[in-house]
Amino acid sequence: MTATDPDVRIPDPIELDELEEERLRAAAGLGPRRVAGDGAGPAARPEYAGFDQVGLPDRPPQTEREQRLFTLNEGEMLLNMGPQHPSTHGVMRLLVKVRGEVITDLDVVLGYLHRGIEKLCENATYTTVLTYVDPMDYMSAMHNEHAPAIAFEKLYGIEVPRRAEYIRALVVELNRVFSHGLMMGFLALDMGGLTPILYGFINRDETVELLAAISGQRMLFNFFRVGGVNWDVNDEFINRLSRWRSNVEKTIGDNELLLTQNEIFTGRTKGLGVLTARDAISLGVSGPNLRASGVPFDVRKAHPYSIYDELEFDVITQPQGDSYARYMQRVAEIKQSIHLIDQIVDKMPHGPVQAQVPGIIRPRPGRAYAAIESPRGLYSVYAISDGGPNPYRFRMRDPSYITLQVMPKLMPGHLIADTMAVMASLDPIMGGVDK
C-alpha cells in the first residue's frame, strides 16, 4: 500500500476527529451529530434554520450539564457572549440560552486567560513568587502579594517589623479604594453610562501614582517582600497621600452623584440578581458580595491578620443581596477604607521595614495557609515546602473564580441586558479567575 494508491484513503486529521466524535457519541448513547437541515433536531424547523448550527458546539456534549445546556427547546437559541464582547471584563465567555430576550440557562466558560501562574510559582524561589502573583487579580496586586507574603513568613517563621505591617495595611487599603471605585464605573459602563468609569479612573490614577511613589510601579507593584516591604515611605508618597486624601471623597462623591440616586440606575439594579445569604454561603461567595447578602463575614475581623485587630472598624452589611446592595456595599467599603487609612497613618510607628532574611529562603518542610480580605473576597494561599528553595506546592484561592459560579443561579428569568448588570455587580476580574 502506498499513499498514491487510489483505493486506500488515508483519513486526514479532521476526518479522524469526526470518527472519534462518532465513537464518543455512540458511547454516550447519543445519536449522530446534528447538521443544519438534515431533518434532525431544531434545524428541521425552518424558522431556526442555520441558527442552531451557529450556536451548538461541533463536538458531543461531555457532561450532563453540557447536554442540558445544549438541548434547545422550542423558541430557544444559544448566544455566545464573549470571549470577544464589549463587556465581558476581559475574556470571560458566557454561554447564554435565551428565549427571545429572556435567559433560560447560562453557563460560564473559563480558561481564556490561563497562564499557569501556580505552576510558575512552584518553579520560582520564595522571593520571586511575589512577582508572579501580581498580574493575577490585576485590580488588587497589593492584596495578591500580601497573602503569599504572610504564608511564606509563617513557613519560615519570620517576625515582620511593626512599621512594615503598617505600610502593608496602608497600601492594601489604598488598593481597595481604587478597586472598588473602578467597580462603580464598570457597573455603570455595563449599563450604558459612559462617565462614571472615567471618574473612577481619575481616582484610580491618583491612587496608582501614589502607590508608584512608594513602590516604583503603577500597576504590578512588586512591593511586598518576605519579611517586610521593599521601601519605606518617602516624601513624595507623603505629599501625594495628603493630596489624595483631600481629593478622594470628592472623586468618589462625583460618581455617587451620577449613580446612587439615579432613577434609571436604581430601576435597573434594585431587586436584580438577588443572592440569598444561604445561597451565597453554600456557593462559597465571600467578600463584599457575601456582605451585601447580609452575612457579616470579613476576614479582617473574623481572622485578623497584619494589624487589623488594632484598628477600629465594623463589618458593613446590606440586607437586600441584589445588584444595588452590592454597589452600595462597595461605596460603604470605600469610605471604611478611607477611615482605616486615616487610622493607619495616625498610628504608624517608627522602625525598620524589612526583617533579616537570607537571599534564598529555604523553609523547613511544612505547610502554611494565609487568608486575607481582598476587594473581591477571601483570597488565600496554601503553600507546602519540602525544604528546597521553591514551594513544593503553591495553591491560590481567588474569590472571583468562586463568585462566578453564582451566575447560572442568578440569571435564569432575567433579560440579556441584566447579565451585564449582575456580572459587573459581582465584580469578577478574569486575570484572577483564570490565573
Binding site: 442555520g50 441558527f51 451557529v54 450556536g55 437559541m77 448566544l79 464582547h85 464589549p86 463587556s87 430576550e101 455603570a188 459602563l189 455595563d190 449599563m191 450604558g192 453610562g193 459612559l194 462617565t195 472615567l198 471618574y199 481619575i202 451620577l258 449613580l259 439615579n262 434609571i264 440606575f265 430601576g267 435597573r268 433579560l415 440579556i416 441586558a417 441584566d418 447579565t419 451585564m420
Partner: protein, 336 residues
Amino acid sequence: MDLDLLLGVGRFVLATTLLLLLTVPTAFIIIYLELKVIALMQLRIGPNRVGPYGVFQSAIHGFKVLAKEDFTPDNADRPIFTMAPWMVFMAAAMSMLVIPFAPGLVALDSEISVIYFFAIIGLSVVGLLVAGWASYNKYSLLGGLRSAAQMVSYEIPLTLSIVGVVILTGTLSFTEIIAWQHAHGWAILWQWIGLPVFFIASTAEINRTPFDMVEADSEIVAGFATEYSGMRFGFFFFAEYVSLFIMSAILVTLFFGGWLAPWPFPAQLSGFGGMIYGLFWFLLKTYFFVFVSIWARATLPRVRVDQLMGMAWKVLLPLALVNLFVTAIVVLVFGL
C-alpha cells in the same frame, strides 16, 4: 403647465440634492460636538489634533469609514444587507425635505408636511429591522427586533404628542404652525405636557441614550450594526446623527417657534436678511436640543428593554392622551 411641472421637478431635485449634501456637515458638526462635549463633561480634553481644536476630527472619521473594507458576511442576505443602510439613511434625509429652516427656506412647503414627516421618519425602522435580519448574526437579530418593538411603540406617543399642537394651530403644515406661533406665542406655553412626551419619545425613536437599546454595546455588541463595516456602517452612523438633528429641528418647530426669535424684534425682517436671521435662531435652538441629548448621553445609563416598553405604554401614552383631550377641550371652549 408643462413648464410649471418642469420647474416643480427641477426645484424638487435641487432641494433634495442640497439637503442630501447638507446631511454631511450636519452629521460632522454633531459628531464633533458629541466628542467634545462629552469629553469636557468627563474632564477629558477630547479631539484636539486634527485642525484647530480638533474640528476636523469628524471629517477624518468620515474618511476613515470610507477607506475601510466593506465586508459582507458569508451567509448574509446580500441585496437586503446592502440596501438596509441606504433605507435608513434615505428615511432620515428625505424627512429633512419638510423642515422649515427659515422664512422661505423650506424644500417642500406642503399642507400635510406633519403627516409626511412622521410617515417618512417611521420608515427607518424597516431598514433597521432588515439590517438585523439580513446580517445573519444573533446580536444583529436581537438588535433588529428590539428596534422594531421600540420604534413602533414610541411612534404612538410621539405622534399623539404633536396632535395637541395640531389642534391648537389648526393646521398640518409646519410653516403655518410657525405662523400661528408668530401670532399667538410659542406653542410650549400651552403644550407643556406635550413637550416632555415628544422629547422622550423622539429620543427613543432615534435610538439615543438612554434609550439606545437597539445598539446597546454592552449587551448586544452593536445590535443591527454588528456586521456592518466601511461606508455601509457609515450610513447608519450618519443617519443616527442626522435624525438627532431632525428631531431637534421638529421639536423646535412645533414647540419653540421654529425660526422665530424669542422676542418680536426686529418685528418683520423680510427677504434675504430675514432668512439669515431666521436661520440663525432656528439653528441656535436646534443645536441647543442636540446639546441636551448629548448631555443626557454623558449622564445617564441605559434603561432596560421592558422598562422602555413599559414607559411607552404606561406613562407616555396616557400622558399624550390627557394632553390631547385637555387641549381639545380648551380649544373648543375658549376657541383659541
